[in-house]
């Protein structure tokens, strides 16, 4: 087997510039793929984070809200009982007008809007935590317009914009990754053909002395796999650098500090890195195999 490895590395050295181009292209496409995977992971985590916080708010109308500290009015008790009985609902919490005002004061402490708001302008609310956060819309349709209800808001729709932004980042990254991957595939395929052509005499002699097709072609496959793996390692290195020098700064900034959960080093090295190595190796092998089948007949 030593022989096969020697041949493979001789092949990589022989087309050194081509090998470098191949590795770089592979690294870029895998890097983009890795970035996409990190985006997906971040989106999932952000969703988890937000879904544990968000709720459907059933705001009560003025007469029902007035002077009810603990949801003791018949309308409020009725609504609350009905919500708690629903299989969609995990729990219901009552926030009276005074509690709402206290929270409002806390959030906007020191800001001028505080002067304009009185307890009377805030409704009492039933905060409904969903068993399945994705089905809040059903509560909205069921309870909108009910007696005693002012309006019903699914908070998920307010964070939907954030998710759709993260989603398009992910899609754009994957799109670029696919285009780059195509370029990498063509380069790998081309290099193998070139490599096979420069070694055709050698391969012819090998076949003549009874080498199997498999034996003559394994060096080319190894060339491809080495390219894929080296590309994946470089891509992972690139992601680490990107995380340390770009993302970490961005995420700790004022805007995003507590909005998006940070990406950890373990996400890059423990999850994306191994995935990229496997993907790189598998894709390179497949490309190499198909190329040899289709174009190299010796």
């Amino acid at each position: 087997m030593m022989f096969v490895w020697r041949e493979a590395f001789a092949g990589l050295r022989r087309n050194l510039t081509m090998s470098i181009a191949m590795v770089i292209t592979t690294a870029i496409s895998l890097g983009l793929l890795g970035a996409g995977l990190l985006a997906v992971r971040t989106i999932d985590r952000t969703e988890d984070l937000y879904y544990s916080l968000i709720a459907v708010q059933v705001a009560l109308d003025e007469p029902t809200s007035a002077d009810d500290r603990d949801c003791s009015s018949p309308v409020c008790t009725g609504l609350r009982g009905e919500l708690e009985a629903s299989p969609l609902v995990a729990s219901v919490e009552y926030e009276s007008r005074d509690d709402a005002f206290a929270r409002f004061q806390r959030i906007y402490a020191g800001q001028s809007i505080l002067q304009l708001v009185r307890p009377q302008s805030l409704p009492a609310t039933l905060r409904v935590t969903m068993a399945d956060p994705l089905r809040g819309e059903e509560i909205v349709t069921q309870y909108t317009g009910r007696p005693g209800v002012r309006n019903v808001v699914d908070q998920r729709s307010t964070v939907a914009d954030l998710f759709s932004f993260l989603g398009s980042v992910r899609n754009a990254t994957f799109g670029l990754a696919v285009v780059q991957a195509l370029a990498a595939l063509l380069l790998i395929s081309n290099t193998i053909q070139l490599s096979a052509f420069t070694r055709r005499t050698e391969v012819g002699i090998m076949r003549l002395v009874g080498a199997t097709r498999w034996y003559t072609q394994v060096p080319f496959l190894i060339e491809a796999v080495v390219t894929g793996v080296v590309g994946a390692v470089l891509a992972t290195g690139g992601l680490v650098l990107g995380k340390v020098f770009f993302l970490d700064g961005l995420m700790s900034g004022r805007l995003l500090a507590n909005t998006i959960p940070p990406i950890g080093m373990s996400d890059v090295l423990g999850y994306v890195g191994p995935v990229l190595v496997v993907v790189g190796a598998v894709i390179a092998t497949a490309t190499g195999y198909v190329t040899l089948r289709l174009y190299v007949r010796t």
Binding site: T201, I205, M206, V209, G210, A211, T212
Partner: protein
Amino acid sequence: MIRLENVSKVYPTSARPALDDVSVEVERGEFAFLIGPSGSGKSTLLRLLIREDVPSSGTVWVANWNVGGLAGRRVPRLRQRMGCVFQDFRLLPNKTVAENVAFALEVIGKPRHTIRTVVPEVLDLVDLAGKAERMPSELSGGEAQRVAIARAFVNRPLVLLADEPTGNLDPETSAGIMTLLERINRTGTTVLMATHDRQIVDSMRRRVVELSAGRLARDDARGVYGVAR
């Protein structure tokens, strides 16, 4: 050892068949010349024997293999039992003499310790023991052909095929090559040699199979090259 039964080979680009209904048999351990002018079908016949090509009709037997009907993945097994030598030597220019010979063992997966003992033995047999570390470019034509023969013989093939092995060599060197091929033949290896070299054929007095325009023209047990040529 080698048997052709009504073998024809037609190339799509040519009107005349390269081989036309040829039947011939070479026994185990025999030494036979295959003669005939260029284009008479000698090379085609050799190509069919090592399954570089398949016959258009008829059957080619080597040992117990029906060569034409062999599945592609079994072809290496056939070739591992055959040795081939060519006019242009076909050595690998970036490998030493010893590496060139070892190559034939490496590609079929022989263990390293076997290679280390067998290669010097074979180089000794072809009188190149002192040149194991030379590169092919440093060898004379005769030496290069000896390396090629060593490589063809190192697996102890059943059959050694030689396609004009002396075509590029002067008469004296050619004689040395022939001595070597005879020596190999005496170990029990069947040798089939395609040649144009009248002097060699006439001096050896071995079996002569002559092809002419793809047909079997003559088959003499102890023949000469021919009077008319």
